[in-house]
């Protein structure tokens, strides 16, 4: 909200510099977001009259103007065309300096001398507008200072008014705050005006259906008005506040709204059928063309201002074109009413229609304000548009609220704020804010809350008033007297933090994706059951329309995006939530871990140019998973062949920790990675997080071997379909208890081995906990193992 300082000063005597005032306001709860100094540096500019003009002989888009500067006529070249002969405009004579620093000199424009410059608003630093030169009222004499003609200089504060303080959405509301801050009194304008012999109550009727939706409606009738432009001072202030001047009648309603916070509306009374105002809900099928020119279908819970026949306005939001003030308007019904906040909000959202009026009503407007504002507007209308006011007011007020009383205990102030504030100081703060201290004991006071402070409901609200007026800087920074608390169990959070650290220790970088993704990508990459998707009914964009049903799709996109930015080597993980609907339609979420490996995984620097084989990538991924699971869990990691929509057939395994399904891992389907021009295999996995946390390692000591071990090798040729795990199982089963370790150290294929066969070589480690083994004993062990390999796997043992 914007407030001109000069307007504020009409209601409170405050001498502070704008910066000082801004600081005080910011630290008492109204944040000053900006201080705009309008008209600084306009000292050299004057008002010039355009006496005549013609087209520039050498340029179609330029005009050759004769400007009277109050002393004589000057020839000026101008690029704008928004003016007529007789208009008065902002004029910078030769020798002037513009606010931006530009010095005006006599110069030739396309061959013709220009003695000065007609200026647009942006050139004067008044706005961003460059829609032609700045015109002022024709009544202003040529040669007058431009600043005076524009009501400048002016300082405009830009304020952020919090939701709870609708009373501050006006100049007077802010003046009341300023008065309290500086210990001054608020000075309100005189709202008396002359009435004629007619009675307003005879000229129009008002009926309210629902007191909750419309607690009060006042109407005044003014006749014989002459519609025309409003006076310059009023137009200036409206513009400073960002409101466009329209006509004296409309401008007065806006001016009074900005001044006191009460939205007003003027109906052309001759266009109100039956001179009857009926505040009711819209009927099914009713429509209204609002002042912005849009025809709007009204729903039955929308409150409207209707005449005897049809809706004239959407209550508290916007009027309709039918009863709009026009040049021919002579008789006006001036509405000053209260509409409830929730209803106004609902209607505004439903219609997608907001206004200065709805902005205030949806936060709450004090019904007590309606009559004062109406008087103020009537007085200004008579002053600016002539005419006469009918006697009295039509005031239907079914929703008058009791004034609230709140008890404030002085000890509670100290308990809540942690600082001692004297009872007298507390009561003075209340008095300064026009909160009436009705009674007082040593321990507490009872405060009557004025109608304009509906936000004050409980004792804590009063204590907040004390805190902000006393000053938060005077509250010390204390160390809490903390007790030891049996708090919530956060072991899981710490375990996930440790999981993250382990993954970075394994060399992976953490990524973070949005929780939502596009339907297209889910279709392309996810493959999950479409009926189970959690679709966002009101997404910001179609790129974020579905809650992610898995982490892998975004992992693939992340790898792809990196590849397209020439990052070919990347090892990523993400821990995040996925979402779906269960059979019952219930929205569900769970935590997942995704892995993505691309490029020279785990290779040394000097291997860089060698491409990565599928086996190498798969085994890197497997090694990573094995290391991770060994650190996370006592339950062993198991794998079995599986299929997954995103993974290459034959290179995909299901994962289990003990008996608990952990997820799926494998190589990314070739077609998917080739879409992103990723030439080499990509390893991916998606795991449930919970199993990784469910069986944390139980650490305990076991005695270390004291006797030396003996290592023997065994090499064999087996058929291709014999798996490493088969060989291990046979060796372990046939081996003695002294066999403590079996390690694969070589695989070889070639002509010497034969087609469809492979050579596998293992180290067998024998060790006894009781004594030193002899080589002869180890040889005996070997015999049994070799025998078993021959028998069970048809292995051909390579001797020597």
């Amino acid at each position: 909200m914007k407030i001109p300082y000069s307007w504020l000063k009409e209601f409170v005597d405050v001498e502070a510099t704008p910066e000082e005032l801004a600081e005080r306001l910011t630290f008492s709860g109204v944040e000053v977001e900006g201080i705009h100094r309008l008209g600084d540096g306009l000292g050299d500019l004057i008002v010039g009259e355009i006496v005549r003009f013609e087209k520039h002989p050498a340029a179609d888009r330029l005009r050759l103007c004769t400007v009277h500067d109050g002393r004589g006529e000057l020839q000026v070249v101008c690029g704008a065309s928004n003016f007529e002969v007789g208009d008065k405009a902002a004029f910078a004579p030769v020798g002037a300096t513009l606010p931006g620093g530009m010095a005006i000199t006599k110069r030739k424009v396309r061959g013709i001398e220009s003695h000065g410059m007609l200026c647009a608003e942006d050139e004067l630093g008044l706005s961003e507008g460059h829609g032609g030169i700045l015109l002022v009222e024709r009544e202003v004499p040529a040669g007058q200072s431009l600043a005076t003609a524009l009501g400048l200089p002016e300082v405009v504060f830009e304020l952020e008014i919090t939701w709870n303080r609708p009373d501050c959405l006006s100049v007077i509301g802010m003046a009341r705050e300023v008065a309290a801050l500086y210990g001054k009194s608020l000075r309100l304008p005189d709202v008396a005006y002359a009435e004629d012999s007619r009675a307003a109550a005879d000229l129009a009727k008002v009926r309210i259906d629902d007191a909750a939706r419309c607690p009060r409606y006042t109407g005044r009738v003014l006749s014989g008005l002459a519609v025309g432009p409003s006076p310059g001072w009023m137009q200036h202030r409206l513009k400073f506040c960002g409101v466009r001047p329209i006509s004296n009648i409309v401008d007065v309603t806006n001016y009074v709204m900005l001044e006191c916070g009460q939205p007003l509306h003027a109906f052309d009374l001759t266009r109100v059928a039956g001179a009857q105002i009926h505040i009711r809900c819209a009927q099914a099928g009713e429509k209204l063309k609002t002042l912005d020119g849009v025809e709007r279908a009204l729903a039955p819970d929308m409150l409207v201002i209707a005449d005897a026949q049809e809706p004239l306005a959407v209550a508290g939001i916007m009027g309709g074109g039918g009863s709009e003030i026009s040049e021919s308007t002579r008789e006006v019904l001036l509405e000053s009413a209260s509409f409830d906040a929730p209803g106004t909000r609902r209607t505004s959202v439903a219609l997608g229609l907001a206004s200065e009026s709805s902005h205030r009503f949806e936060r709450g407007v004090d019904p007590e304000l309606a009559d004062w504002a109406s008087r103020r507007a009537a007085a200004l209308l008579l002053q600016t548009a002539g005419g006469a006011a009918a006697g009295g007011v039509i005031d239907v007020y079914p929703g008058r609220a009791e004034l609230r009383r709140i008890t404030c205990r002085f000890a509670r102030v100290q308990a809540l704020l942690g600082v001692a504030i004297a009872a007298d100081a507390i009561c003075n703060i209340f008095a300064g804010l026009e909160l009436i201290v009705e009674s007082r004991t040593d321990a507490a006071c009872v405060v009557r809350i004025p109608s304009f402070r509906r936000d004050l409901e409980i004792e804590a609200d009063l204590i907040e008033e004390v805190a902000r007026m006393h000053g938060l800087d005077r509250v010390p920074e204390a160390t809490p007297h903390a007790t030891l608390i049996q708090n919530v169990d956060d072991a899981r959070t710490w375990a996930v933090m440790q999981l993250r650290e382990r993954l970075t220790g394994l060399g992976l970088r953490e990524i973070l994706n949005y929780s939502f993704m596009s339907e297209r990508h889910v279709n392309q990459l996810g493959g999950e059951d479409a009926a189970r998707r959690l679709v966002i009914p009101n997404p910001v964009s179609i790129d974020h329309a579905v809650m992610r049903p898995a982490l892998l799709p975004q992992m693939l996109l992340t790898l792809g995006h990196n590849m397209s930015r020439q990052v070919a080597n990347a090892d990523f993980f993400e821990i995040g939530r996925i979402f779906w609907r269960d059979e019952a339609g219930q929205a569900c979420e769970a935590e997942r871990l995704s892995l993505g490996l691309m490029g020279r995984v785990g290779q040394g620097a000097l291997d860089g140019r060698r491409s990565v084989s599928p086996a190498e990538m798969f085994l890197s991924l497997k090694g990573l998973l094995t290391a991770l699971c060994r650190a996370q869990s006592d339950a062993g990691l198991r794998m079995a062949p599986a299929t997954h929509a995103s993974m290459e057939p034959g290179w995909c395994v299901g994962l289990w920790l003990g008996d608990v399904a952990l997820g799926t891992a494998g190589l990314l389907r070739r077609g998917l990675r080739e879409e992103w021009r990723i030439a080499e295999p990509v390893g991916v996995a998606e795991l449930h997080v919970q199993p990784l946390l469910a069986a944390p390692r139980r650490r305990s000591f076991a005695p270390l071997a004291t006797y030396p071990s003996i290592t023997h090798d065994v090499a064999m040729i087996v058929a291709e379909d014999v798996q490493h795990e088969n060989i291990l199982a046979v060796i372990r089963k046939a081996g003695p208890t002294e066999l403590t370790d079996v390690r694969l150290f070589d695989i070889f294929r070639g002509v010497a081995v034969g087609v469809g066969r492979k050579s596998m070589a293992y180290s067998l480690v024998y060790q006894s906990g009781a004594r030193t083994l002899t080589d002869a004993e180890a040889n005996t062990f070997d015999v049994g193992i070799r025998q078993a390999l021959r028998q069970e796997l048809q292995a051909e043992i390579r001797e020597g």
């Binding site: 804590a460 933090m497 060399g507 973070l512 949005y514 990196n562």
Partner: protein, 345 residues
């Protein structure tokens, strides 16, 4: 093997000089080893000298002991020095030096995402102050997200324009405050928790707004918790997070669930409060919203607002990360460019 048939002090010192010279003159590692065996070995001179010490007159025994120690120490030192020299020389002549400037082959560490870094830091800092971590679902009901937090039914944040409604009264939480409600519903006071987590608002994405972002909120309910405690706690956190010298200030504000409500700024860590581009010349950066828990919120969870008071606070994780690490655009945090992520390893 040399034997000492009789011994006096001069003899020990002479043997010391001899041994040192022998070590210094040895031409090979093997020659040095021979010197060691002769003088210090198990069957060498040293045991004989030690054995002979008892034969000295009591008056001379102290001096003899010192000479014996000097014998051992001097020759040991001479041997070690000679071995070092010989071995160094041997390395130098063994061929061209290995190029130790070649790249190392141990794979590097990965990195935590900046959002995780900030959350991890915050969890550790608050944990030192006795706060436990509580987490809750991203999908919430309207009661926990709004009503229990004293947010009026017509508050703008309930509107379609600000909240992702999923239907059936479900929504994507707009703040992590509902976790506070869940904890208070299930735990009697006192309570001291922080609640990091993901939140959602229907903001149009730009350099500083994201429809999905992270928050850390805190809640401390106990007997006699005051606004002064809130100031002390948040200020301590800011100093731990942003640097020990940052100043912290509080401005009155409004939130439906706290009364009084404040906003918290810290003095710009870039310019030290003098004013710069980061702090938009103000010297201060807004970082958190906070306040004393509204008694009506206590009412919703069945806490006795007369017996217990509490404070709550909340701040944006991405915002802290951007300020702390100088990240200019919130969207960079979700682009996952490996070169960007590597900067935080």
């Amino acid at each position: 093997m040399a034997e000492i048939f009789w011994m006096n002090l001069a003899e020990i010192d002479a043997l010391t000089a001899e041994g040192v010279a022998g070590a210094q003159q040895a031409a090979t590692v093997d020659a040095v080893e021979a010197v060691r065996i002769q003088y210090l070995g198990r069957k060498g001179l040293l045991p004989q000298i030690m054995k002979g010490l008892k034969d000295f007159a009591p008056a001379e025994r102290g001096a003899a002991g010192r000479s014996a120690n000097a014998f051992k120490d001097s020759i040991t030192a001479a041997i070690e020095a000679r071995l070092l020299a010989l071995r160094g020389a041997a390395g130098a002549v063994a061929g061209p030096a290995f190029d130790y400037t070649l790249p190392g082959s141990w794979r590097g560490l990965g990195s935590l995402h900046p959002v995780s870094l900030v959350i991890t830091d915050a969890v550790r800092i608050f944990s030192r102050m006795g706060f436990a971590v509580a987490e809750g679902p991203d999908i919430e009901n309207a009661y926990n997200n709004f009503e229990a937090l004293n947010t009026p039914a017509h508050h703008p944040s309930l509107a379609e324009t600000d909240t992702f409604w999923l239907g059936k009264g479900e929504l994507l939480r707009t703040q992590t405050s509902p976790v506070q409600i869940r904890v208070m519903q299930s735990h009697p006071p006192p309570v001291r928790i922080i609640t990091p987590g993901r939140c959602y608002r229907r903001d149009t994405t730009d350099a500083t707004h994201s429809a999905s972002f992270h928050q850390i909120e805190g809640l401390y309910v106990d007997r006699q918790v005051s606004l002064a405690d809130l100031k002390g706690t948040l200020a301590a956190f800011m100093r731990a997070m942003m640097g020990p010298d940052v100043g912290v200030r509080f401005r009155p504000h409004f939130f439906p669930f706290t009364e009084p409500s404040v906003e918290c700024d810290f003095s710009c860590h870039v310019c030290g409060g003098k004013g710069c581009r980061v702090c938009k010349q103000s010297g201060w950066i807004e970082i958190a919203g906070a306040g004393m828990v509204d008694p009506r919120v206590f009412g919703k969870v069945g806490y006795d607002a007369e017996a217990w008071t509490g404070f709550a606070f909340g701040m944006g994780v991405e915002r802290i990360a951007m300020i702390k690490y100088g990240i200019p655009d919130i969207r960079m945090l979700y682009e996952n460019d490996a070169r960007f992520l590597a900067q935080f390893g």
